[in-house]
Symmetry: D2
């Protein structure tokens, strides 16, 4: 079986693994206070701005819950679209830390800035505002859970809302590497400009685990390390995160390997188009959502591991196909051939 | 500088690293549902009993907070001695999940079973028991934060209390590998017998990260995986934990490498004795707490990284020296020589 | 100005006040362990079933958050319709205790049982169920926030779902007195049969404060008093709750005084009908939601305090008019006259 | 049986009850936005300073947990002495909101300022401070749980520590009325000067329920009402708190009625002295802790309800005798006579 169900089926990207092996028996301080974390941060500062503050955590859900809790008071909530990961697939981690996720409609996996503005405005001006969770943060994913991307205009609009109402803009970048490769008009500097805090996912973009949290500057959350420790998110051997991050950030290595995934995805998208298989949504990144018949799904699932996403009706099913830095040409060759064969049926 | 400040300064024990390299590009399911986690659990079941349930988490604080929260209702608390890690060095992670740590006196880093019994009995029979946090769990570490070990008799006594009052016995085994190597009269099967849940630390005993949680059986916490996910503790590439655990558990590899650490520690302890340098506490494991003068500390700190533990008075300081699977003979040779030289002053 | 904005503008219903005065200087035990709480519970047991367990809390939000937290594990959530009080007007109190409110569509302020069934079924059978908050409770209000009532059929259907999936059915009865007066085919015994736990609001139905929580039987939540104390909800002079509850429960006094409110509401509803002023929703209880023009609203607001509910468009506004046990005939006479005058415009 | 077990056995002080009766059927806004709360606050501002911000809650545990949560970040803790109410008798309410109570030694129910300073200093300068709960608030009770009082010097010292380390000083004044009557050298203005926030208990000092929280000024916690609502502590008919507070605050009525309790307590203390019955602690307020033999306790308990506090040994028991605004001369006459009779045995 060839794996296309997600972008975290393999271990460390080879160059990352090589760096881990090379540094393995060195002795360093723990808890992220080692030279590798420091160097990775220096590299990132050169790319994104000297004033940023960077912290390394292990996983995405962990990062979401700790960042959100570190910035909100208990009566404040975080706006997310209904398909947002924090609202759907984190077993209520944010609520577990005491905060309500304020879910607004999802439009191709994205918030509509004008709906966000209206919602915030209503909450603040409600005569019973003290009875209502007050929004204090906007959570977005880039790319989204559906592989779509916020445009510069949308980010500008969300930033403006956050400025107008004194909210934080927090961007979940679990797959940001794929996003940076897909839309090169948006750079790390832009994300620093638009967001108060975001993270660059290592787990799905070349690392074995890890997420690099970037705060606009140190004043946003001066005691973030205390929140990390309290949340069980300060890795003892933090240098393992540093070594991975350093390898991936240097020369934008993570973006290059993510670009490979996009090429592989493009081939699959083209094959779908040629075979007249519709997709749920046009995604510029490494996630593809074909709508297939039951018969087609059976053929695909006989050879490939894919995700079942949803059912549109009894004979129309959305599946998810994902490529990654580790997706091999040969596997895509096979999948493309299979997709073409579907057309002949 | 030679490192003796803790047992997590290096990466993965070589054999573990080798296994990670070997399996690196295989594709597996995520979230701990991979063949390596499964095999590691099978090995552990052979050693500890077929009925156990095993889960793999990333770090110790994370494991403590999630295990405790998964078993207690919000009005229930966990008993720990005052030097317990959950009471002192986890930034209030347990309280963060809503539970009070009920701190009793520490005797060489351990709870006194008779004091535990008296405390629990008092809480339960207090006419105002509804105004008091009800103890529902006893938390111990084996070895303790001071390197000491609970004896079989003490474990039997604590188990009896837990049976009498319907409490959980939870054992933090962040350094259990060293404990198993130090007191071979207590085996994994014994710990399964005495505890409802405990964990075998990988981070400090050969892994780069990871803690293997062992429940007495599946009924203790059937939905533990939901708690893991909610707490941000379900590693996406869970197989990285499985590969490490499998390598360490097979043929008790972790105990063998921990035995090396004990040998190294013994040499240091002997050197201290020969140099008439007292220790805070007689520890049979890999942590040593010498009491040194300011002058002695300066000499040591000029060549070695050690931990400053506490000050007994202006000129008597407790330092902590720790060995690990990765401690080299040559480094110990040097340290022993330095210790001998202290005597001559 | 005459008050119609809510049903808690006045103090204690006169008979309740009389009882408080009469018992005021007696000395009793605190924390609900007094003879008045005991007697009130005995009266309620006679009416609702001997096996019930009853507790007295102070307010509605407090009761909701404590009942919910007392029955759910941290990874479990509570289903509510989108207009449910816990989802909209409690400043995230339920999330503050760590639980997600799982919001489903509201149909005239009510959950649709078939939608509940489908949602629960989907959550449980999701292959990624460990990543999803698991529903464990269904929260409803009777009457709802829109004054509507669940029918016996709907309650039977919800009970069946709860039985099928092992969920709790929790009914917020902040206005239950009005509900019992409005639909006499549903008695306390029925609510005990359908619900695992519900409460009879005192605050809005004759008391100055207080909510009487009724558990189906003692096994549902044996340690509820510990949760109360922990949540700051165990009133020191608990007998003040007991005296109120006793007065209101004896001879169903609260239902009689609520019936007065319904009569007053009916007069207002008739006047609206006669004046061709539409209502948002046909409510059989003491809340009325007329849709008025801006001009009409101005006239009403010049003489009466009412609530602004929502705006349908620039010139169509929903207001809320509420009657209570304390609403005077003369005030209703005036309001009816005003409503009639609106028609003439 | 005559009641001396606590100061909350009776209902409302007669003048307070009279005011409740008089205002009972008036209609006012809810949630503390009524004229009575407003007037009570105005009276308090005249006494304590125009810049204070005042909020009315229902009970002590509730107030403690909400004030503490409203001012601390999740990684911050609150210092209390070991006998502090939040540490011992609130079922872990503070931990339930996510914060650790940092317990220091109790000296006659009080914190020693020099020990507080040393503790805070150690926490802040610990090289592993990120692994330690950071103290951010000092919690004291005035009078304490043992009836003792902090002196002006002690309050000055605590204030200085809080200024030096940027901590909040929070004073639990559940019995402050008795404290103000006992030590008239400390006035409300002083408490505003020394504390960032404190409360004046109504429940035990003339009210049926209620605690008036006083913030030094509005900037200390601008969104306190949101925290109140979220914590289930915003009383719907808030004017019931306002009416009580107004009656008690006007002309310092609560202090006058508390002075009566002190006179009654003095008579009992004198009788104990005359009978050579020792007390656990010299308390200047309305709580008395005699040390009695088993035989003496039996005699007392045959006629009076008192609290059992602790056992010094098999035949020496500490009981607690409490007077209140409602304690009658005749009851004290009887108790004094009984105490004298003990001496003759």
């Amino acid at each position: 079986m060839l794996h296309f169900e997600c972008d975290y089926t393999q271990g460390f990207e080879p160059k990352v693994m090589e760096a881990l092996v090379k540094t393995n028996l060195e002795a360093t301080s723990g808890y992220g206070l080692d030279p590798y974390c420091q160097k990775a941060t220096e590299v990132l500062k050169q790319q994104a701005g000297e004033q940023i503050a960077v912290h390394y955590l292990v996983g995405g859900t962990q990062t979401n819950m700790i960042v959100i809790n570190s910035l909100l008071h208990s009566y404040q909530g975080v706006i997310s679209c209904e398909s947002g990961h924090i609202h759907t697939h984190e077993t209520g981690a944010v609520e577990y830390t005491g905060h309500k996720v304020l879910a607004l409609a999802a439009h191709h996996g994205k918030l509509d800035p004008s709906e966000v503005r209206q919602y915030v405005d209503t909450c603040i001006h409600d005569p019973q505002f003290e009875h209502i969770v007050q929004p204090k943060m906007v959570y977005i994913s880039q790319p989204t859970e559906l592989g779509t991307m916020y445009t510069t205009d949308e980010l500008v609009a969300l930033r403006q809302i956050c400025d107008d109402y004194d909210l934080y803009l927090f961007m979940d970048g679990a797959r940001l590497g794929y996003g940076l490769a897909a839309d090169t008009s948006l750079t790390l500097k832009d994300y620093v400009k638009y967001c108060d805090v975001f993270y660059i996912g290592l787990t799905k973009c070349g690392g074995g685990f890890g997420e690099a949290v970037v705060f606009k500057d140190e004043t946003v959350c001066p005691h973030f390390r205390s929140y990390m420790k309290q949340g069980g998110a300060m890795l003892a051997k933090g240098r393992l995160l540093g070594v991975q991050a350093l390898t991936l950030f240097e020369n934008n290595h993570y973006q290059h390997i993510c670009a490979h995934a996009l090429k592989m995805a493009d081939r699959i998208k083209n094959a779908l188009k040629q075979s007249n298989i519709p997709v749920l949504i046009d995604s510029p990144t490494n996630q593809i959502f074909p709508i297939v018949t039951t018969a087609q799904r059976e053929i695909i699932e006989s050879k490939y591991v894919v995700s079942r996403w949803s059912d549109l009706d009894a004979d129309r099913h959305v599946i998810r196909i994902v490529t990654s830095w580790g997706t091999r040409e040969a596997a895509v060759d096979a999948l493309v051939e299979t997709i073409h064969s579907l057309n002949e049926q």
